[in-house]
Symmetry: C3
Subunit: 392 residues, 3 copies
C-alpha cells in the first residue's frame, strides 16, 4: 500500500493541491562603474506555491517567496543597513481565490496582479524571455489586494478582459503605484497609503476594518486573433490619500502591447505612459520596447536535444528630470538554454548582457542619491548576468 | 509508473505527511468614524501546515502563517511605520510533537495553544462561526512554548483534560499573557518576558539556555455529555519577572464555557475573568458572550445545494478605566455560506456586521492613544466585513 | 480515482519533488549563573524542504527555516530588543541546483554549505550526535552563495572533493566568515561585506549586479577507506573589502577531521585553525574535539525495540584575549533515544549535559559585553538541555 506515503490533501474532494516552485541563482558583474568591480553571486527568485480546486467552481493559488535568498537576520540583513535592498524580500506573493461559476464573468479576490501590462500579466518569473522584466514594469502596477471580474476568453471569440478595484496602491514594490511619495525629492512620503490613522479604529484582530475611500481601478481588454497576433490595452488609476506640494493627487497609467510568433520566432512590444512617477506629479514618463526571440530548437535548426534561444530587446525610457527630458536606453542581448526541451522551464540557464546608452543623467541622479529617477529594471552600466533555474 | 510523480515523504513509514492550508480574503468598512471612510481589502489569515505520524505513537503538526498578506518589505511594511499592525505577521503558528503511547496521559511538547478558553481551543481559524473570535480571547492566553499532559477522552467517559507548563508568557500576541507590561499607561514594558539579561549566557546556538524561573501554568477540564452539552472550565496563571509600580506581579485568568447543538441549531457561551489586563494590576476585567447559529441546510430548510447559516453573538466586555467601570458591548450579526455543503470549510463566504454599544469610553481612550484599553477583537464603530475563504 | 487526491508536482517528468522537514523542541536550564535560573522552553530548529530531480541530470534542494519558533512580531520580537538573538531566524537555508552530467565533475550553484569542516558538511541538523554542533563551527564557514565543483566519490576510489568560489563571506551567521568585523572591540563592522556602496548601481530588480571583486575560496578533499576510517582536509580563505586598524584584511581557516565506526561504536574528531576571529586579525584561534558514541541497539546490547545511544565529547577552544592565551573546555555528556529503531531520526529525544571548564576569562569577557570572545556553541555555565525531535 503506497497510498499512505503520498501527500494527502486534507479536505479536497476534487483536484488535489499542486505544489509548485522554483529557484533562480545568479552570478553577475557590471563594467565601467566608478567603484570596485567583481562577480557577485545571489539568488534572484525563490518561490513555493500551492494551487488547486477547493470545491467545483472555486480554485485557489497561494504563492510564497524568499527572493534574494531572504533571511530575517545574518549577513544580508546587516549588509542591508549599509546598502538597502540587498536583503531580499519574503512574504505572500499571491493569495487568490477564483469563483468561476460563470466562465464569462469570473470573480477573483485576494492579492494578485493588477491587470496592467502585457509582460507583467502574461509571464511568470520562471518563463520570462530575459532575466529581468522590461523597465516598462516601473510605469505600471504590480500585485495589490482587491477584487476583479475577468474572463480568459469571452465565448470563444479570443477576446479577454479584466476589471478590478483594489486598495489605492500596489502592495508589491518598485512601480508607479507603490507608496508613491516615497523617495521623491521633497521627502514627503506615503501619499498612496490606503490606510488612515485617525482617532478611528482601523485594525481589529488582523482585519483591516477601515479604508480611506480611495481606490485603484484597473481594466484590461485583449484579443488573441491567432498565434501571430495578440493585442492588449490596459490602464489603471489610483487616488492618493493626500499629497504634498509637487506630489501627485492621483496617478494614471496605461499600456498597449502586442505579441505573437510562429515556428519558434517570437516578438513582443509594449508602450506605457504614466502621468506621475515616484510620486512626483505631471512628469508623464513613458517607455517602449521591442523584443525578439528565436527558438532554434522549435525552428529545428539545432540537434533534437539542444534547446537554444537567442533573444534581443531594445527599450527606451523617457522621463523629465528637473524640467529636462531624459532618456535611458537598455539593449539586452540574451541566450536561453533549456536542459530538456520537453520540460523547458524545469532546468534553464539564461545569459544576459545589457548595454545602456544615453544614461548619463541617470548616473548623475543615482550618484546624488536620487535613486527614484532610475526605473526599477533599468541598467545604467554594462552588465553581465548568468542565471541558473530549477523548478518543479 | 505514476508513483514517481507524487510527493514522497522522505522518512515516514506510516501515515504520510498531510499538507493543509487556507487563505481568508476580506473587504471591510467602518461607519460613523471621525475620519475618512471606505472599503479596504486585505488578507486575514494565510496558513500552510504539515501534519502526520512520525513513527507509531508520535504525531506532529507544524503550521506556518503569513497573516495579513505579510511581506518583509513593500507598501505594508512602510505603512506599518505610520500605523503599527497593518503589516501582518509571519512565522511558526504551531510546532507540536505529541507522544500518545498512553491515550489517557499523552504528552505534547512545542509551541501550541495554552489550554484556556473554549472557543480558542476548540475552533481553528477556518471553522469559526464569526470572522473574528470573541473579545474573550483578550482575557486568555494564546500559543506559547511548553509541555502539556492531556487526553481528549478519558476512558470513554466524555471527560477531557489538559495540564501544562509554559514559559511565563504567550508567544502569540494580543492577549492577557503577552509581554504584559507593554502599552500600559506607565510605559514600563516587558514584565512578562521569560528571559533574563544578566551576565549569564542565555542563548547558545539557537537554544535558549536560561530561563527566569517563572512560568505560566494552565489547566483545563471538560465534559462532553452529549451533542447537546459540552461544558469546560480552564485557567492559567503566570508570574512576571519583575514589575514596575501599578503593574502586575502575576496574572491569573479563568474561563468557563458551554456549547452544544442539535439538527443544525448551535449555541455557545463563555465567561472569562483576569486579575490584570495589559500589565496593569488588579483590574479584574471580565467578559461574557452568548452566540447562536442556525445551519438552515442541516435543518433541511433550504434546497439541498444551499448551505446558509445565520449567526448572532452578543458580548459584553467589562473593564476598570481610571477607577471607573467601563463597558463595551459588541453585537455581531453574521451569515455563513458554504459553496459545497459536503466540504463546508473548503470554500466559504462569511458576512459580519458588528454593532458596538456603550463604547464611548473606549473611543475616548483610543483617541488618546491608550489603545491598550480596547480588547483585541473589540469593535468601537459599526463595521461590515465580508470574508472569502478557500482551503485544502 | 485516488490519483487526484495526491500532490502533483507541476512540471516534473522524472523524480517527483520530495517534501521533508523536522522540528526540534527544547527545554533547557543553566546552573551556577549569577542571575535568575529556571527551565526555558523553545524551538531549536524548524525546517521545511523540497528536493527532487528537475530533469535528468539536474537536481535541486530548497530548504526553508523558522528556527527558534520565529515570528515577525509578538513576544519574541519584543524580547529581542532586550536580549538580541532570542527571536530566532527565518529564511532560505538552502537553495541549491546541481548539474551532475559528469559524475566526477559536478557543478553546484546557489546557497549551500561552504566545503569546510567534517561535522558541518557531513551532518544535518536532524542527525547530529549532540544537540549542538561543536565549537569548531565558529572557526569555519557556514552557507554562502556561490558555485562549486565536486564529486562524492571519484571513480569509486573512495576519494571525494569540493572546490568552490563564493561571495566573500558566509551568509549564515555565527562563524569566522560572517560579517567579520561585527562585534569586535573597535566597533568597526562590515569588513566582510561583499557589496560596495559606491555611486555605481549595485542592485537591479532583485539581481545583485555588482560585486566587490573579493571572494571566499574553499576546497575540501577526503577519503573513505572503509567504515572504520574517513579522513578529510579542508580550508577556506576570504578577502575583506576593507579593514579598520586591528581588523583582518583576510581570513584563512583550515580543518582536518577523521571519523569512523563499527557495529554501533563511532568516533569523530576535528582540529580547526583560523588566522582571525570575529574580525580581529592575527589571533590564530584554534579548536579540537573528540567525540565517541555507542549505539547500544546496533551493538545488540538492548532489547530489539530500545534504541539508546550514549555519547561523549571533549572539546578545547583556544583564543588570544588581550594578549593572553585563553581556553574554554566543554565536556558534553549525551544520551540519544530513537523511538523507532527502523526510522531513528523521525522521532528522537536527546539529553545533553555540558560541563565547561577553564572558562573564567570567557565569563568575564561576556559580562563586559564582549560576546564576540565566546565561540557560538561554547557553553560557559553548566547546562542541561532536553530536545524532542519529529520529522518526515
Amino acid at each position: 500500500d503506497t497510498s499512505s506515503k503520498v501527500f494527502l490533501p486534507e479536505n479536497s474532494q476534487d483536484t488535489g493541491p499542486i505544489l509548485y516552485g522554483f529557484a533562480q541563482i545568479t552570478g553577475s558583474q557590471q563594467f565601467g562603474t566608478p567603484g570596485n568591480e567583481g562577480l557577485i553571486f545571489g539568488a534572484h527568485r525563490i518561490r513555493l506555491g500551492v494551487k488547486g480546486t477547493a470545491v467545483p467552481g472555486v480554485t485557489y493559488n497561494f504563492q510564497y517567496k524568499w527572493d534574494g535568498a531572504w533571511m530575517s537576520g545574518g549577513s544580508l540583513e546587516n549588509a542591508n543597513k549599509i546598502f538597502p535592498g540587498v536583503s531580499g524580500e519574503s512574504g505572500v506573493q499571491d493569495a487568490e481565490i477564483n469563483f468561476g461559476f460563470i466562465p464569462e464573468v469570473q470573480l477573483k479576490v485576494g492579492k494578485f496582479r493588477v491587470p496592467v501590462g502585457m509582460e507583467r500579466t502574461q509571464f511568470g518569473g520562471d518563463d520570462l524571455w530575459f532575466i529581468q522584466r522590461s523597465m516598462n514594469q516601473s510605469l505600471g502596477a504590480d500585485r495589490s489586494a482587491g477584487i476583479m471580474f475577468h474572463s480568459p476568453d469571452v465565448m470563444n471569440t479570443g477576446v479577454y478582459y479584466s476589471l478590478g478595484v483594489f486598495d489605492n496602491h500596489s502592495l508589491d514594490g518598485n512601480n508607479a503605484f507603490t507608496l508613491f511619495g516615497n523617495g521623491n525629492p521633497t521627502g514627503i512620503a506615503n501619499v498612496g497609503v490606503p490606510f488612515v490613522k485617525t482617532t478611528a479604529q482601523t485594525s481589529v484582530g488582523g482585519v483591516l476594518t477601515q479604508g480611506s475611500g480611495r481606490y485603484l481601478f484597473a481594466g484590461m481588454v485583449g484579443y488573441k486573433l491567432n498565434p501571430l497576433l495578440n493585442i492588449e490595452l490596459s490602464g489603471a488609476r489610483a487616488d492618493a490619500l493626500n499629497a504634498g506640494p509637487g506630489l501627485a493627487n492621483s496617478i494614471t497609467a496605461w499600456n498597449v502591447g502586442a505579441r505573437g510568433g510562429m515556428m519558434g520566432l517570437k516578438y513582443m512590444g509594449e508602450y506605457s505612459h504614466v502621468t506621475s512617477y515616484q510620486g512626483v506629479g505631471g512628469l508623464n514618463a513613458n517607455d517602449w520596447y521591442v523584443a525578439l526571440a528565436a527558438n532554434l530548437h522549435e525552428m529545428t535548426l539545432t540537434p533534437d536535444w539542444l534547446d537554444i534561444e537567442p533573444a534581443v530587446r531594445f527599450e527606451r525610457f523617457n522621463w523629465n528630470y528637473n524640467g529636462q527630458a531624459q532618456y535611458l536606453n537598455n539593449t539586452t542581448l540574451g541566450i536561453n538554454y533549456s536542459v530538456n526541451p520537453d520540460n523547458p522551464y524545469a532546468a534553464r540557464i539564461q545569459l544576459n548582457y545589457v548595454i545602456p546608452t544615453q544614461g548619463a543623467a541617470f548616473r548623475t541622479a543615482y550618484a546624488e542619491g536620487n535613486t527614484g529617477a532610475v526605473p526599477t529594471n533599468g541598467y545604467i552600466y554594462n552588465t553581465l548576468v548568468l542565471q541558473f533555474q530549477a523548478g518543479f
